[in-house]
């Protein structure tokens, strides 16, 4: 296997190690902890007051526009990274190209700003 793939295999081992460690500790805990459930204990905790309605009730999600903006800017970052590593070679040409790119994106941010969506309403 190439070194490249082996590095990713190491990542898999790390994920497995995390799960194994947590599983082991949870197993130890399961062996020694008491387990005496009753109705009151299993109620949803709302500061001691009886819960009204269900936790999965409707609620207003206030920042879906932020989520959309996030996608735009995150994809932008994906484009900037490869450019950043090779900037030395691209020189002034690459610089002005990226200047235009970032400027267009900033326009987008300014537009969202002016539209008032960057406010928590």
């Amino acid at each position: 296997m190439s070194d490249f793939l082996r590095s990713y295999l190491t990542v898999v081992w790390f994920g497995a190690a995390a799960l194994l460690l947590a599983g082991l500790l949870l197993a130890v805990s399961a062996a020694i902890r008491p387990n005496k459930p009753n109705y009151e204990k299993l109620l949803t905790y709302e500061s001691g007051v009886d819960a009204v309605g269900h936790g999965w009730s409707q609620s207003q999600i206030r920042y879906y526009v932020f989520a959309l903006l996030f996608v735009v800017f995150d994809v932008e970052a994906v484009f900037i990274f490869p450019w950043a590593t090779e900037l030395e070679r691209y020189g002034a040409f690459g610089l002005s190209e990226m200047g235009i790119f970032v400027f267009v994106l900033l326009l987008g941010l300014v537009y969202a700003w002016r539209k008032g969506v960057l406010r928590w309403v």
Binding site: P34, T44, Y45, I80, W113, R119
Partner: protein, 348 residues
């Protein structure tokens, strides 16, 4: 380079063990030294004093206590997903440490796209937090989970954009190469100190640390677990050892982010290469594999001290201030930082 060769399974085993130490040791140190002791001293009290000299065995006592706690799962919760959430958060911490280099040969993975990997994996924990909030079927948890998602999304961007400045300067996304570039670099033709990027990328460093503070949901960015309004946010319904996993992951992640920040901005495991006349990463002496981790640990403690200092000092942001700060201050500043860095890089 190392003279001995270790078979692949041995290397993997060593790496995984090293990774576990690199996650748990900082987490324990941070909790005892900063959360227990420093916070207490800042608030004019002594903190834990009973277990061991100066309470140094308090952590052992705590883990023993949490192991014996009853594991209460609310009846209405989505049990399978409820159990999954802390594991996801902890796994994301372990995946994140996998990319941090500790010495010339003491690395877990040596990706050419290390920075990319680091940024990608660091956002996995959002999933764990979001499903923890949802699966609890509790209004506090749901609100906390949603706030956490909104906050982590908003502060992910300044973090990503702040790192681009470093990548432009180093010309690579490989973290080992970034360490090399800083320690072998020179300032105005003088290479006595190398060129740690905290000097040239100070704006980037500040933006990065603020974003890290928010990603870790430490005060003043602790809206998701605001204990005076949401009990404990997405962790409200968790009890017993599952809660402790969240807790460990939180402080382990603080340590790992500090390690990443020290690699990106403080020169990582290296000492200025000119001190010993090293020319390349392969020429670095073998003893750096032992000294490197110690240097990394010291830098981590320094940065975590900063994070905790801010945490214990400032009051909480309001949710709208928090979002406004990310979108209207940090993102424009970091975009400007990218362009200025790029222009300077091309001009000089």
């Amino acid at each position: 380079m190392l003279a001995i060769t270790i078979p692949y399974w041995g290397q993997s085993l060593l790496r995984v063990l090293g990774g576990i130490v690199a996650v748990l040791l900082p987490a324990g140190t941070i909790v005892y030294l900063f959360l227990f002791k420093m916070m207490s001293f800042m608030q004019s009290r002594l903190g834990p004093m009973e277990a061991g000299p100066y309470g140094s065995l308090q952590l052992v006592a705590e883990v023993g206590k949490w192991l014996q706690k009853e594991d209460i799962m609310p009846e209405r919760a989505d049990h399978r997903i409820f159990k999954m959430a802390p594991l996801i958060v902890l796994t994301s911490t372990f995946l994140l440490i996998a990319v941090v280099p500790f010495g010339p040969d003491a690395w877990f993975t040596n990706f050419d796209v290390g920075v990319f990997y680091m940024l990608a994996v660091s956002s996995v924990s959002v999933l764990g937090i979001l499903i923890a909030g949802w699966a609890s079927a509790n209004k506090y948890s749901l609100l906390g989970g949603l706030r956490a998602a909104g906050q982590l999304i908003a502060y992910e961007l300044p973090m990503v954009l702040a790192v681009i400045g470093v990548v432009i300067q180093a010309g690579t996304m490989n973290l080992q190469q970034i360490v090399f570039a800083q320690n072998a670099g020179e300032m105005f033709g003088w290479n006595g100190l190398g060129n740690p990027y905290i000097l040239t990328q100070f704006v980037g460093f500040c933006v990065f640390m603020v974003a890290v503070q928010a990603e870790l949901t430490q005060a003043p960015f602790d809206m998701p677990i605001a204990e005076s309004e949401l009990v404990s946010g997405y962790m409200t319904e968790y009890s017993g050892f599952r809660f402790l996993i969240f807790f460990i992951a939180e402080f382990a992640t603080a340590g790992v982010f500090a390690l990443v920040a020290s690699v990106l901005f403080l020169g990582g495991w290296g000492v200025p290469f000119s001190w010993f006349g090293w020319k390349s990463i392969d020429g670095v002496a073998n003893w750096m594999n032992v000294v490197g981790p110690i240097i990394m640990f010291s830098k981590m403690m320094l940065l975590v001290f900063l994070i905790m200092w801010v945490r214990f000092t400032y009051p909480r942001f309001r949710e709208d201030q928090l979002q406004r700060f990310a979108w209207k201050v940090l993102i424009p500043v970091s975009l400007a930082n990218i362009m200025v860095t790029a222009i300077l890089k091309v001009v000089f």
